[in-house]
């Protein structure tokens, strides 16, 4: 990590004892979680998609172990319909920090017949099988994810340490009570623990932290001109992944992405926010949650996320 990226907030006057900001508190909590996993697990891995939450996760991991390298490798589940800007960012980041990246490919699973393309073309739900396969093959016992409890109501009940059985399944009734900052990571062979260091962060916290730490993001998070077409109330990017169909018209608009996932189900929003500060202003005025605004896969049913989580999704 370069020195200028780490800006200290320790400004103290003798009369007034320093109080930690909410970002300091969330940061220290997340770092604590990373270090607990490093101390208690054999083979942890960080899920890294090149999305802002996983980028913040990696930034926290770099800070947690400085000046030593991050003692984990990264895992990316590539849907085959990822934004090229995001893949380029991923590869650049891996090289810059000397990290090891594992890629689980949805496309390979489809090509080899182990997965079938869905009729609706959504690839996010297809990620679960390659993810679990990669966890098994890598014998990973702790898997860091960037999920936040504010994202979705099934996630509001998620633990920081979430035990998964040998099939990767999440059973909300079997989760362990989590008290104080004592995280119980014990698991049987074949089971693993999903770990969510950003559990208590909100979308706004993530952006404020990106601003404070001056973290670089893939450019598609900021306003840019893009060929898009309307589907299901959101702007999808035109491209070889499958859109647009007959009857859908492509137009050029000034947009940005609030979340970055698979191109088949991640919508762009109309935006002229070209900097972090402008994004923060835009978020303060936004009347939609980030998933409500941009995720087709969550609009399938009221319990779409709950169902996917039970099957072993992120």
């Amino acid at each position: 990590m370069s020195e200028e990226k780490v800006v200290t907030l320790l400004t103290e006057s003798p009369s007034q004892p320093r109080r930690l900001s909410h970002l300091d508190t969330l940061e220290s909590e997340a770092v604590h979680i990373f270090r607990e996993v490093a101390g208690e697990f054999e083979r942890p891995v960080v899920l890294f998609s090149g999305g802002k939450d996983s980028i913040v996760m990696l930034h926290l991991a770099l800070k947690a172990f400085w000046p030593a390298p991050v003692p984990f490798s990264l895992l990316h589940v590539d849907t085959g319909h990822n934004f090229p800007e995001v893949l380029a960012y991923r590869d650049r980041t891996v090289a810059e920090h000397g990290l090891r990246l594992h890629v689980a490919s949805v496309q390979e699973f489809i090509d080899s017949g182990r997965l079938r393309e869905r009729p609706d073309g959504l690839r996010n739900p297809l990620q679960t099988v390659p993810l679990l396969d990669a966890i098994r093959a890598g014998r990973f016992d702790a898997v860091f994810g960037g999920a936040r409890r504010d994202e979705e109501k099934a996630r509001a009940k998620e633990r920081v340490f979430s035990l998964r059985d040998e099939f990767g399944a999440w059973d909300p009734r079997r989760q362990r009570p989590e008290l104080w900052s004592l995280y119980n990571g014990r698991h049987a062979p074949g089971e693993h623990v999903r770990v969510f260091p950003l559990s208590n962060w909100t979308e706004l916290d993530v952006w404020q932290y990106i601003q404070r730490e001056r973290i670089e993001l893939p450019a598609i998070y900021y306003a840019h001109e893009r060929e898009v077409f309307a589907r299901g109330g959101m702007w999808l990017t035109a491209g070889e992944w499958g859109g647009p169909k007959a009857g859908e018209t492509v137009e050029r608009r000034l947009v940005r992405y609030r979340t970055v996932g698979d191109m088949s189900c991640t919508g762009a929003v109309d935006s002229d926010a070209a900097t972090v500060a402008e994004v923060l202003t835009e978020l303060a005025a936004s009347r939609l949650t980030e998933r409500g605004a941009t995720r087709a896969d969550d609009q399938v049913s009221e319990a779409a996320m709950e169902d996917r989580k039970r099957e072993g999704y992120f």
Partner: protein, 430 residues
């Protein structure tokens, strides 16, 4: 970003610190409605969330959007009309960021409220103005006291159903404060409100002009959070040893951990436990930056003046230091359906140290509703609160829970399958 601008942002951030809240009350007390009202009136809800509530209300035949539906989570819960577990809600105002642990009020209540209260700095206990203080209210107050939640709020709800009468409120507030005082809770803030109508939740109530105190949200925004860590002894449980062993940091050896209490400075004399070695702090790095000073609850990396054999589970301490001990006497809340019995072998997880332990004695069980004690019950069942004496295979560095919630708390774990069995608090219950 220019540095000046950055420092301005940092100062603005430090004013709006984080407050962790736990709510307690049953569905009938209007707890879900209160939480929904807090989120709604503080403008923390966005239009797609409101639309989802409106849709669900219509589907279930309600005339108006039911804010209680906001806090229902899983399909399993909606189908069975229950709430499974602690759900976390996030909202913020211009002054503060809030994390709210919303705990359901059915059979597993004690376990869930203990879990939610364990990290809370403030607990809101809800009562129905028509019923006043009932057995469940006393239980909620006792759990808040047991978990040493620093601030307690009594929310007297449904004031509109008692004609917003001041004497009704005053009598409930007096009875509750008396009970809280008997539990050792020094101060209770009582607020008369109507969650359904919105009185005194965010906006002051015109109907209760006799009430001169803050609305619930005003109180949440202004209650002092965290003491002055400078007056507390230093406790740094070592999580991880950072040794790059290559490059420009070849000789770096840092002890990483989250400062559980106190303020640590470069040059401070510290004791490493359980070994008892005394050394000095050679440097403090806060996440990549040498700072020379760190405050609880910061995550830090500490370099020491002497090369010592220190590993995960050790404690770096200053000020008064705990005496390493293999005897643990604690108040516990049993969390699992499997009972905890005298003679049972368990794992004990305390800060960053997990050791083998045996349950030597269960001297008594406390009825959390009446505080009556039953001697030598032999075992603790799920949701029981009791006294436990344990003997551990290796020494622990324990502080009384009343003094330090981080270094005074522990879990008991089933060594066979890793199940979390029991939550423990070192020292006397109240």
């Amino acid at each position: 970003m220019p540095i000046e601008q950055h420092q301005r942002a940092a100062r603005a951030g430090s004013r709006s610190a984080l407050l962790r809240i736990a709510t307690a009350g049953s569905v009938d007390d209007g707890k879900s409605t209160l939480v929904g009202r807090l989120l709604h009136d503080s403008r923390s809800l966005l239009s797609d969330q409101l639309q989802a509530v409106a849709d669900a209300s219509r589907r279930t035949g309600r005339a108006a959007p039911d804010l209680a539906l906001l806090t229902d989570g899983l399909r399993a819960e909606r189908e069975q009309g229950i709430t499974i577990d602690v759900a976390y809600r996030y909202f913020s105002t211009a002054r503060r960021r809030f994390i709210l642990a919303d705990t359901p009020g059915h059979v597993q209540y004690t376990r869930n409220m203990v879990t939610g209260a364990s990290t809370a700095e403030l607990a809101v206990v809800l009562v129905d103005a028509r019923n006043g203080v009932v057995q469940q209210t006393r239980r909620h107050a006792a759990i808040a006291a047991l978990l040493r939640v620093p601030h307690l709020v009594l929310a007297v709800n449904k004031m509109d159903l008692v004609d917003c009468a001041e004497p009704v409120f005053a009598a409930i507030a007096a009875e509750f404060s008396g009970y809280a005082a008997s539990l050792g809770i020094p101060e209770v803030t009582a607020v008369p409100l109507s969650a359904l109508e919105g009185d005194n939740v965010v906006e002051p109530s015109a109907r209760m002009d006799w009430y001169g105190g803050p609305t619930l949200l005003e109180h949440l925004e202004s209650v002092p959070v965290g003491g002055d860590p400078a007056s507390d002894p230093v406790r740094l449980p070592v999580q991880y040893v950072i040794r790059p062993q290559s490059g420009e940091h070849r000789d770096y050896r840092g002890y990483a951990g989250q400062l559980a209490s106190g303020v640590l400075r470069t040059g401070d004399r510290v004791t490493v436990l359980p070994s008892g070695w005394i050394t000095a702090v050679a440097g403090i790095d806060v996440l990549g930056q040498e700072t020379g000073i760190a405050h609880a609850p910061q995550s830090v990396t500490v370099r020491l003046a002497h090369e010592l054999d220190i590993s995960r589970g050790d404690l770096i301490a200053a000020g008064t230091t705990p005496r390493p001990s293999r005897e643990v006497a604690a108040t516990v809340s049993h969390l699992n359906e499997r009972p905890l019995r005298v003679g049972e072998r368990v794992l004990l997880k305390h800060t960053t140290r997990t050791v083998r332990a045996v349950v030597q004695d269960i001297p008594y069980l406390i009825d959390i509703d009446t505080l009556a004690r039953a001697d030598h019950p032999g075992l603790l069942r799920v949701n029981d609160i009791g006294r436990v004496v344990l003997r551990t295979a290796e020494p622990l560095m324990l502080d009384p829970y009343a003094v330090n919630r981080r270094t005074g708390s522990f879990l008991l774990i089933d060594p066979a399958d890793g199940t979390t069995l029991t939550a423990g608090m070192v020292g006397e219950p109240f």
